[in-house]
Subunit: 331 residues, 2 copies
Amino acid sequence: MATIADVAKRAGVAPSTVSRVLNESGYVSKETRRRVLAAVKELNYVPNVHAERLRTGTSKTIAFVVTEFTNPFWAEVARGVEDVVWQNGYDLILRNTAGDPERELASIRGFRRRQVDGAIFPWLQEGWAELKALDDEGVSIVVLGHAPEEYGFDVFTIDNVRGGYLATEHLLQLGHKRIAFISADFTRERERGYRMAMEKYGVTPDETLVFREYAAPELERGEIVVRRLLDQDDPPTAIFAYNDVTAIGVWMELEKQGLRVPDDVSLVGFDDIPMASLIRNGLTTVALPHYEYGRTAAEFLLRRIAERSGSSGRSVTMQPELIIRGSTRPC
Amino acid sequence: MATIADVAKRAGVAPSTVSRVLNESGYVSKETRRRVLAAVKELNYVPNVHAERLRTGTSKTIAFVVTEFTNPFWAEVARGVEDVVWQNGYDLILRNTAGDPERELASIRGFRRRQVDGAIFPWLQEGWAELKALDDEGVSIVVLGHAPEEYGFDVFTIDNVRGGYLATEHLLQLGHKRIAFISADFTRERERGYRMAMEKYGVTPDETLVFREYAAPELERGEIVVRRLLDQDDPPTAIFAYNDVTAIGVWMELEKQGLRVPDDVSLVGFDDIPMASLIRNGLTTVALPHYEYGRTAAEFLLRRIAERSGSSGRSVTMQPELIIRGSTRPC
DNA sequence: CGTTAATGTGGAAACGATTCCAGTATACCA
DNA sequence: TGGTATACTGGAATCGTTTCCACATTAACG
């Protein structure tokens, strides 16, 4: 591989001149520039990025940590992050923790060694203190979702409360009152939105309509829900499921039992997975702006790196969108 | 940030000695080692990775390019790659091309600048020549899926032909003879497997049963398929869809028209998406070893990097697995 | 007891860029 | 005509490691 010295020799100038040409800094005559550029082309020269980075003390690298990018949520966010990071000439190094605290810590330490310029982290199991240490060393940090207040990280959030609110409000506006909610252990915010909407519309939620058999496959497949629904004297006329997969599971089970959506029961999901638009006349659901989420966070991070400013404890919230399809109708 | 010189001074030794301790190379006395390690800890020293890499001429970085990691296929593969790459102390830099030739080329050039040690690429639109050039410069390359013969890349493949074969054979063994196949423009291999199985079992495929309305949403939703199926004098008793999403679409449509799976029609999908096990009694499908695919390719690449051996034109094929669930039964 | 081998250590030269400084040539202005 | 600003260039230091070489010291051995 040709070095800057080779180029310099070939062009009959000093290495510093080559550097000036390539970085467009300082004075270079038209003629010298031409000669240098020609030599660069002839030798097929590319600067050694390690030397560059050693000298300038920057790494032009952003780290992005996710818990599980097999999860479509993170995959979409990663797309957004990747796009802006590369557009700005940075590398994106990716790390999947699988929720393992060991890996979290290993990642943080690794990033310190690698002197990344910035990093985007999700909620961590442990490791907040270490992350803060990274921040203190001048590595820009942005946290996705939620972070302990006391560290003052910049936090980007998608408003899940509002998502839950929108879904529930939609059903309420259609005249439904007995609205079931299927929750999971990680969906407290969506549940809060559900309750806020109910309250706002003057309906006190019937606690027997809130399903909590967290992550049981019978729940995902809708068996429990539908069984209990059929048992009720006064069954719900609408169901809001914490995600689309569960909503579709419920839908399948309802049909198995001879109930029709939306004629007998209205159904709302959450996430807007690709299949949501394919089932029957489509599943009404709440879409989160994943891609934009990643973009915005990455843009913010890059700006902070450029400005060399530290964490400010700012927080940005992005809004979900209600997508009305064929699974809901007036009560 | 503390440097190796700081550590050396604090421990009262020379930088070279510190280096020897840290890299466990050459002779170091027990006592010196202790002192150096203590100093390292006290100063919270981490070696500067850029200096390291500049000096050693290695980057400890692997690039992984995918067309679209929002696609669960690639997300899974990425998981596999990521796991082994990190386990071996390498960085993974990730690039999503979205099938854009511009981005392909930009990535390849970028990797040259960044002096990655190795790269894993999918099928490219263009850019094969540039990739070959990278290979010639000593960057280890592995291609996923398929590559032009003439370049002699090492290629890793998942056997889609066999997948198609397994699915079809399963139906044939259940006694089905009129088996429809729903294809897409990128599923020629699966179709070949379908035809191979039919031939093997002495059944000549009825070309009216091969659906080719590529990627039309009506096809995905199963409308065309079911409509045409009902029109036939001698309708198929089984359907093999090129992927699970389409299979489920067909399933939905069949039910809408009053046909039952598997009682009236057996159904086989492809991919084994999470929802495949949730629909009714489950969708019989073909699972591809995505994660293992990524792992194996990455392990292979790392081994080649360690051995400093170039491409050899080898090719490794990984086998799919038939997963029998409730959507198929004897004819 | 002299010779050779095994340990242990420090000094200094790379690696390949950027950047500061000094120096020269030309242009401009009073 | 002399002084100063502007344009242009080369030399050398520097970033923080690794690694080669030289030099001691100690151990082993015939």
